[in-house]
Amino acid sequence: MELTNLTITQIHQALIKKEFSALELCQTYLEKIEKDDKKINAFLTITKDLAILQAKRIDEMLQINREIPLLAGIPMAVKDIILVAEVKCTAGSKILENYIAPYDARVIKKLKGQGVVILGKTNLDEFAMGSSTENSAFFPTKNPHDTNRVPGGSSGGSAAAVAANLCAFALGSDTGGSIRQPASFCGIVGLKPTYGAVSRYGLIAFASSLDQIGPMTKTVEDAKIVFEAIKGKDESDSTSVESEIRNSKNELPTEAKVKKKTTTKSSSPFEIRNLRIGVPKEYFIEGIDPEVEKIIKEAIKKYEGMGAKILEISLPHTEYALPCYYIIAPSEASANLARYDAIRYGEIKNKSASWRTKIKNLFDYYLKARGEGFGQEVRRRIMLGTYVLSAGYYEAYYLRAQKVRTLIRDDFNKAFQKVDVIFTPVSPTPAFKLGEKIDDPLKMYLSDIFTAPINLAGLPAISIPAGRVGNLPVGFQIIGKPFEEEKIFEVAKIYERN
């Protein structure tokens, strides 16, 4: 049995049957990371001591035959933009190179409550800005299926780690496609939940009205398990919302806490012949790789063959979604990233005497610390955001973009009156080569053309593996109505099974 191939449910069963211990599993993963990550560079930090400690705790519980939650003892990785207490969190940036997180993000607190084993923090585009993980200030991550190619981004480290079996699952974050596009490029499952379904407390902010944390896993079932563990309203994030479907698994039992049995809401069994699938004509455009288009169309045919009803729909404002996104996201980013003043936190490297003597006052300090601390893409987006929000331009750009955002959301609302889910490609191409798009920001932005509209509308969407072009995986996207992740999982599972 290859331990690192196992899914969450398989590991859970094996742990209960004592086929191997949580510590043995954890050490197998740590050894594999040490051996294989040299080629892939998925990890920025390995949290070996933390992982071993967490694994031992689960073994102690198993020894006395205590019941353990589904995620107990499961080795996982965390995108390095989500805080894990006492562990470095760089956001892929020089400006946070030595930042030690003072607290746990809400999602981490919830997962620790279930007894996960945290193996380390994964690489990303600086502040999650990018589609290839080449914008990391430290090093690029490689695609495990072809190391000359990118893993996608910005959650490229998490996607590559899952695909290369360097963890059982990982967390990513998605502002314009940053979970789904790397999931597609690496051949794994990636869910961007409904905006508000998962607390953003402890997620380093990029664009607050678009950011969501989500699971990156080997199977749809695993994505469902992780999503159920991390979702829910949180008083530390005023935009978080309670989904109607309750968690089906309890947290780690504590002595003081009496376990309450929560039952899942009984809904009518899902039947594919009642499923109405919308296919937006605007998502099959010039510029999409014909091989990718073929794979997506075959996937749709498969559902049709199983009895689902396929309906062509129109989302007429699709072509405006990406320009809209590139006003709204940089605007929010320029405000969010104003906090990096290198005074409260943010180490300044090479603080030589000459560096200091050049600085006369606070203003000069800001210019130098921020000018040197941020990389090219981050500075580009701060500049863009500052420009479109500056006096005289606000109405022409930002306000207009917010109105176009309304139209984009209305397009989806109208479509969802006729269909249950919408199928689209995730990205117009499979994984591209390292260096191929890095010098042309606009070309890079186009990788998110099919994913960014979903963030603007706040909808849940999953990327699941649909096929391959040569050796390179291609995912397809299932978009659902707000807070209907459950339906997305059901629909995705059918594809996985057949």
Binding site: E235, A342, F363, L367, G371, I382, M383, Q402, A457
Partner: protein, 95 residues
């Protein structure tokens, strides 16, 4: 095309120190991106309300009472600062 002076002005507002070479690069790149987002001018937005968040947000209220003290210690946060003195953050003079 935006001017070099505009790029310098924006960089100052954003508190980003840029070299002359970088100002030239940003002038070209930002112009290209701005040109791309001009596309939104084609859309008829009359009588459309702006969307700031995709879900309806409500004000979050709490009782006006003293809250439990933060668990994160002051010292721990000060340790993150590049420079501090006597429990305060140290900054350069403003003028």
């Amino acid at each position: 095309m935006i001017t070099k002076e505009e790029v310098k002005h924006i960089a100052k507002l954003a508190r980003l120190g840029l070299s002359d070479k970088e100002i030239g690069e940003f002038q070209k790149e930002l112009s290209k991106i701005l040109n791309y987002i001009e596309k939104l001018k084609e859309v008829d937005i009359s009588n459309i309300k702006p969307t700031s968040h995709s879900i309806a947000l409500e004000n979050v209220m709490r009782e006006d009472a003293e809250k439990e003290k933060l668990k994160t210690k002051k010292e721990k946060l000060l340790e993150l600062a590049p420079e501090s003195k006597n429990g305060y953050l140290k900054v350069k003079s403003i003028l």
